[in-house]
């Protein structure tokens, strides 16, 4: 864990006096970001660009929630994608079979995710490191196999087809592309803001302490199991939100959403962007999607190109892009002070 710890050293001192200030700054930042994203359709009619941002929203929510586990708590989950798939399937199935309004289905999906995540998490978080990774992977594949084999309910390997009904609510019509776009952006910004609050809260610092020294945290009277379980469920909720955005975007759900490669991509995104900054996974998401889109357009052998890029990050930079930038900036600053 040396790579991870190194980047975290200075972040560990909570600035208590500045906490309120920081919160207002985060909210202001979120509002500006939302205003910029939401006004994008006014300047460009490019459907491809809006689609790209919607996909970034879905994957960004997922990847950032994974960072709550990997970066903040030190829980390397290989099965986080199961909640992405669960969100997509649960939302799609509720909309198709029960014909309720979208906010109701949204809330019901979050409730279902919380219930399943609490059950799976209660078993998983007892295990350490690589065993935690493997048992989450096993649960992910179990859910994937269930989706495949329960064909009458989930559509099996064909996925959930026939489209997801999108009745209008509160004047928002999600079958309208621009409405869908703005809603996705809003969900992304709200989700990121909520996760930022979790990460900066005392609970967030408890998680960092568990990551750095679980035994010490336990001596200080923290119920490590409960804290890990709580963050596991919270992260699952945001991943599920990402899955719902994806289901709304493609108007369906496919078994690939619950396949382990989604978890692998999530880990990759985190490494690409960096795990020691909050926005690292977001940067990673944009990078990976851009990379995927351009490389698939240029060559049919995109595995080689993607592989070489990964190698460059893993063996060359040895950290994510935003981690690298943050370290470079702080080194520059230190050098300046030294002079």
């Amino acid at each position: 864990m040396t790579e991870l710890e190194a980047g975290h050293a200075e972040a560990l001192a909570p600035a208590q006096s500045g906490a309120a200030f920081q919160r207002y700054r985060d909210i202001l930042f979120a509002l500006v970001a939302f205003a910029v994203l939401a006004s994008l359709p006014l300047f460009t009619g490019s459907k491809a660009l809006l689609d790209f941002v919607i996909r970034c929203s879905a994957y960004g929510l997922f990847a950032t929630s994974l960072n709550l586990l990997v970066g903040y708590t030190g829980l390397t989950s290989f099965g986080h994608g199961m909640f992405f798939g669960l969100g997509a399937y649960s939302f799609g199935l509720i909309m198709q079979k029960l014909a309720v309004s979208i906010p109701v289905a949204f809330a019901a999906t979050l409730a279902i995710t919380a219930l399943i995540a609490a059950t799976i998490g209660a078993i998983c978080v007892r295990l350490k490191e690589i065993y935690f990774a493997f048992v989450t992977l096993a649960f992910q594949m179990l859910i994937h196999s269930t989706i495949l084999s329960w064909a009458s309910f989930t559509g099996g390997d064909q996925g959930l087809r026939g489209g997801i009904p999108r009745p209008a609510f509160l004047g928002i019509d999600l079958s309208n592309h621009v409405h869908l776009y703005v809603t996705s952006c809003a969900l992304l910004i709200l989700g990121l803001l909520a996760m930022r609050q979790i990460a900066q809260s005392p609970f967030g610092y408890t998680l960092r302490m568990i990551r750095d020294n679980a035994a010490r945290a336990s001596f200080l009277g923290i119920d490590v199991w409960r804290a890990k379980l709580t963050v596991f469920v919270l992260a699952a909720l945001f991943a599920s939100m990402g899955g719902m955005v994806m289901a709304l975007f493609v108007s369906g759900a496919y078994p690939e959403f619950a396949y382990w490669t989604i978890s692998g991509e999530g880990i990759f995104i985190n490494m690409l962007g960096g795990v020691s900054t909050f926005l690292g996974p977001m940067v990673g998401t944009v990078l990976l999607l851009l990379l995927n889109d351009t490389v698939t357009r240029l060559t049919e052998y995109h595995g080689i190109v993607l592989g070489v890029v990964i190698l460059f990050f893993a063996l060359g930079l040895r950290k994510g892009l935003l981690d690298f930038a943050a370290e470079w900036v702080s080194r520059r600053r230190n050098a300046g002070e030294g002079r």
């Binding site: 390397t76 078993i123 048992v135 329960w150 880990i267 490494m271």
Partner: protein, 323 residues
Amino acid sequence: MTVSAAFAWLLAPCRARCNESAPVDLDALAGCLSSSACLVTQTTSGLIIGMLLFLVAVGLTLIFGVLKVVNFSHGAFYMFGAYFAMTAYQLTGSFALAMLAGAAGTAILGLIFERVFMSRVYGADVLMQLLVCYAFVLIFDDVVRIIWGPEFRSMGMPAAFQVMPLFIAGGVVPPYYLLLIGVALVAAIVLGIGLSRSRIGKVIRAAAHNPGMVSALGINTGLIYGGVFALGGMLAGLAGALAAPVRSLTPGMGFSVLIESFIVTVIGGMGSILGALIGALLLGLIRSFGSLGFPLFTEGLMYLFMVIVLVSKPTGLFGKEAA
């Protein structure tokens, strides 16, 4: 039986409502268990799945035990072993040379891979090691696609084995299956005895335990690491070469094998050779009999089994307590 009963209950509504093939067919399973012919056929097919898995998984577990690295790209060595064997067989027409090419080719590949790339990320974050391996999974798959083409290829059964199958207690057993099981068993025995008795085996175990001390005693640990990686790659390559006549070859074929051999090592306990053997055989039998009783949920059964083992004994059946 409670687990299967639970799944029967879970999946029962489908059987009543839809007219697809039933996901749970316990009658077929019971029917097979009561017939010796079916029992023999299913057991042999379970054994060859298990033995191939063992050869891949034992390399994985060896590399983990000594190098403390989870080789996520291990499936690629299985794939290369199969393709090397196919090419060698097409060029020379000799089955023995094909096996040799599969094993030796992947051993060299493993040595280069370890020395040039993996040795740079020892001691780094686990995620970093996984990432390097993941990159090579992508690269190797595309390399195979470029050299051998994206379509399914097949090596074909060597003429020497195109003979009448054996009939054992009414069950059909192709002679090639016996060869495959035999080779894997020999590999298991040689490996087990070699590691526990021979001098090199002792040095390897010492290096797994305390590399600093081994290196201080004047032994080149880098060479040992490279050698272990080459050995692991060779075993996976041998598995691929042995599988080439009975499976179809495609880029990405290593992946399902990789996931299954992960399950094997986790069930058996990371770092344990006996565990890998038992785990692989159990998984093979689950696959072959599970495909009768739960045709659509065979994979699910394996993961369920893994979850049960991990929850009851996190270090696996034969794993030692984590250091």
